[in-house]
């Protein structure tokens, strides 16, 4: 009997006008994700069907669990008919390998030409099984096993388990955003949540050699690699921030160091975003977490840009962010102890309520437009995929 993978997408089906864009994108994302597996992908109303050429369901399902827009995955047995007798017999033979005491049958029929209703079919199959399997009982509330039957146009499907997908929208359906990626715990989580809503990410990272080390950059590369599992290839813009940071340190009152530094970062990020056709900036700021993330600080920093700034974790507690970081697999990398741009040159008493006029006055002490132009011109662009970085396969 043929085994197939059924892919279901919940929220997408409510998008009446744009459904095609959503589905085409989802299909492309799935194909991209499974490019190393041998699969055939077909599409039918409300479902996609994957037919693996080899028995490799586990690895495929793990990969599908990293694709946004998929709400549920089933491994199903496919029958080339809608004949209920045959379905019953097949279920009976499949159940021989299963260990259970109680069961329940659930039927869905998208083919309304079938004379029996879903409920009637469930009852009929349930009755048949009860007769065949003397020692088993029906339990509609808490069964050991749920037998799902789906009747479609010409084929029917039987499956026993549901694997939950990530949900959300297929990445790219909502356009592009630029993630300010620091290497900490918050920004990768912010990136993940943005991708979940269908936004394709690029990322920007500020490095300050020799004050920051290659380890800090590698850490960001590793985080990018993890994010690229969900995003597909992630374009990482690495900006050399040393000159700007040193100029700020030398010329500007130290309590304003962080505020001005953030304003510079925002300005650079906006230019990179606009050039790459990204519609939003995304970062991991969380209200009140540090001095630069008070509301007054956010306002003083935010006003240098015009693009919307999305802060997906703004209202999360640190522990909530950590829990998510662990779930998506970035936490262990994020906590590696390497200095980044934001942790060097930290003043003892950063300003909590920065004044806009003072910010402008201080900034004008340094030729920041020139420095920003130079930093952008010298950016390094790295295309990160889940595979690259550290490929030692010839050595190991």
């Amino acid at each position: 009997m043929k085994k197939v993978i059924i892919i279901k997408y919940g929220e997408l089906t409510t998008k009446k006008e744009n459904i095609n864009l959503f589905l085409t994108t989802l299909k492309e994302n799935i194909k991209q994700k499974l490019q190393e597996e041998q699969v055939e992908l077909t599409y039918d109303k409300g479902r996609m069907f994957l037919i693996p050429k080899k028995e490799q369901f586990d690895s495929i399902i793990l990969k599908l669990q990293e694709v946004f827009g998929i709400h549920e995955i089933n491994i199903a047995y496919e029958l080339e008919s809608l004949d209920l007798e045959e379905i019953q017999k097949t279920i009976f033979s499949l159940l021989k390998e299963k260990d259970f005491k109680t069961f329940k049958v659930e039927t869905k029929r998208s083919n309304k030409k079938i004379p029996k209703t879903s409920l009637e079919i469930s009852r009929m199959v349930g009755g048949f099984l009860l007769k065949q399997l003397q020692d088993k009982r029906v339990d509609v509330h808490d069964p050991d096993i749920v037998i799902h039957i789906e009747l479609r146009n010409t084929k029917s499907y039987i499956y026993f388990e549901k694997v939950t997908g990530l949900g959300g929208y297929p990445v790219r359906t909502l356009g592009k955003g630029l993630l300010m990626l620091s290497g900490g715990i918050d920004s990768p989580v912010a990136g993940y949540l943005t991708m979940k809503r269908g936004v394709k990410l690029e990322a920007i990272y500020f490095e300050s050699p020799p004050h920051t080390s290659i380890n800090a950059k590698n850490k960001v590369l590793e985080l990018s690699k993890i994010l690229s599992k969900y995003n597909g290839e992630l374009k990482l813009h690495v900006i050399k921030f040393t000159e700007i940071q040193e100029a700020i340190y030398k010329n500007i009152p130290h309590e304003y160091l962080i505020t001005i530094m953030r304003r510079m970062m925002y300005r650079i990020a906006e230019v990179i975003a606009i050039r790459g056709n990204a519609k939003i900036l995304v970062n991991g700021e969380s209200i009140g977490q540090v001095a630069s993330q008070t509301l007054t600080s956010m306002k003083a920093i935010n006003e240098v840009v015009h693009l919307p700034v999305i802060r997906p974790v703004a209202c999360f507690d640190k522990l909530e962010i950590i829990a998510l970081a662990k779930k998506i697999g970035t936490y262990e990398t994020s906590i590696l102890p390497f200095e980044d741009c934001c942790t060097i040159f930290v003043p003892d008493h950063p300003v909590i309520n920065p004044d806009r006029k003072l910010c402008e006055e201080y900034e004008n002490k340094i030729p920041y437009k020139e420095l920003i132009y130079k930093a952008i011109k010298n950016q390094e662009v790295i295309k990160v995929t889940a595979k690259n970085s550290n490929d030692f396969s010839d050595l190991l």
Partner: protein, 375 residues
């Protein structure tokens, strides 16, 4: 040359040697250095560690690099004894261990530990009942090798673990898996500590592994300053580590196919030896086919080995680490001094060819008759 002493050591695989050379030339930084050369070496080392851990089904922090199985055995036994010495002073080992285990036990006896030697069945398997009886509340460690180096007897580690943990859940279980890796599927999770040596799996000499479950603690024997490897400080030998990762990856590939082939070679020799009534086969039903141990009767094994050498054929006596002495494993099982003093070990590889075995049998015949006449 016909090499039939693969259980003493294996020739390094050329692919592995390439890795060693390349890593030596291109990864010159000390992985503990902060600069980019150091980082690069560290990345290679971490990738190698990840690969080995995945292949063995363990976590990366459970892997310690040593200089070889003897060091791993020392770390496991002495380290456990020193750490858990307050809990108890009793250690059990089998009678089919590698000589290094017995030497370590002699040392531990001097430190005040009591060593028990568990009995065997006639077929070489550990006597489960005897093991049960020996385990006491103060038994801190049992060490039983997965595959014995002289006779190739394979012990059922999973069952042994169940027995040990049932009698005393605190008793730690170590296994010397040196002769098992690359010959049979190893399940490291059957034990708490396991020793490996890379030169037995077509890897370089000078590197071994110790698996240490994260649930178990051992006292360090070597003291130094590396923060990443507290139990084995010192500059990590990155090229050896990369080579180790590759030799394990290649070594555990196609085990079934390799074993089937080796079994055929083994049967060929065994059938051939039936023509010699004075020769006894020491390997039992539980021996792996890679190791064929026989006793020559009255012929001295050293003489026999040198005589074969004239034909460029190389076989081993007991284990390379105890050549010239009575075979302790054969003594343990057969309790026959004549038999234990005349053993040779023919150890086979997937690299061995049928032609080599034909030639070996021809020369064996000539040498045997020549030496037999002198008796």
């Amino acid at each position: 040359m016909i090499y039939l002493d693969y259980s003493a050591t294996t020739p390094i695989s050329l692919e592995v040697l390439d890795s060693y050379n390349k890593a030596s030339k291109e990864f010159i930084g000390n992985p503990n250095s902060l600069h980019s050369l150091g980082v690069k070496s560290k990345e290679l080392m971490e990738s190698a560690t990840k690969q080995i851990s995945e292949l063995l089904g363990i976590q990366e922090q459970e892997l310690i690099y040593t200089s070889g199985a003897t060091e791993s055995n020392n770390m496991a036994l002495i380290g456990t004894a020193l750490h858990y010495g307050k809990r108890g002073n009793h250690i059990i080992v089998s009678k089919l261990e590698h000589p290094s285990i017995y030497k370590i036990c002699d040392y531990l006896k001097e430190l005040g530990f009591e060593i028990s030697y568990v009995k065997h069945e006639a077929n070489g398997l550990v006597d489960f009942e005897d093991l049960k009886k020996l385990i006491r509340p103060e038994t801190i460690l049992v060490s039983i090798c997965n595959v014995n180096s002289e006779l190739g007897i394979r012990q059922p580690l999973k069952m042994l673990r169940q027995i040990i943990k049932k009698e005393n859940p605190n008793t730690i279980f170590h296994s010397d898996m040196t002769q098992a890796l690359g010959k049979i599927p190893v399940n490291v999770k059957d034990v708490d500590l396991a020793s490996f040596s890379m030169h037995k799996v077509y890897g370089p000499k000078g590197i071994g592994l110790l698996y240490k479950s994260k649930m178990v603690h051992i006292a360090p024997l070597i003291h130094g300053s590396s923060k990443d490897s507290e139990l084995r400080p010192g500059t990590p030998p990155v090229p050896l580590i990369a080579a180790a990762a590759k030799s394990i990856r290649l070594g555990i590939k196609d085990l079934d196919r390799k074993e089937t082939f080796i079994r055929k070679l083994n049967e060929k020799i065994t059938t051939f030896l039936q023509e010699y009534p004075k020769i006894t086969i020491n390997s039992t039903n539980y021996s792996i086919p890679h190791i064929l141990n026989i006793s020559l009767g009255t012929i001295r094994p050293e003489t026999f080995i040198h005589a074969l050498e004239e034909y460029e054929i190389y076989v081993g006596t007991n284990t390379a680490c105890a050549s010239g002495e009575l075979s302790s494993s054969v003594m343990a099982i057969y309790d026959d001094e004549d038999r234990a003093s005349s053993t040779i070990r023919i150890s086979l590889s997937y690299l061995t060819t049928t032609e080599e075995i034909e030639r070996f049998m021809q020369c064996f015949k000539i040498v045997y008759h020549r030496l037999e006449e002198l008796q």
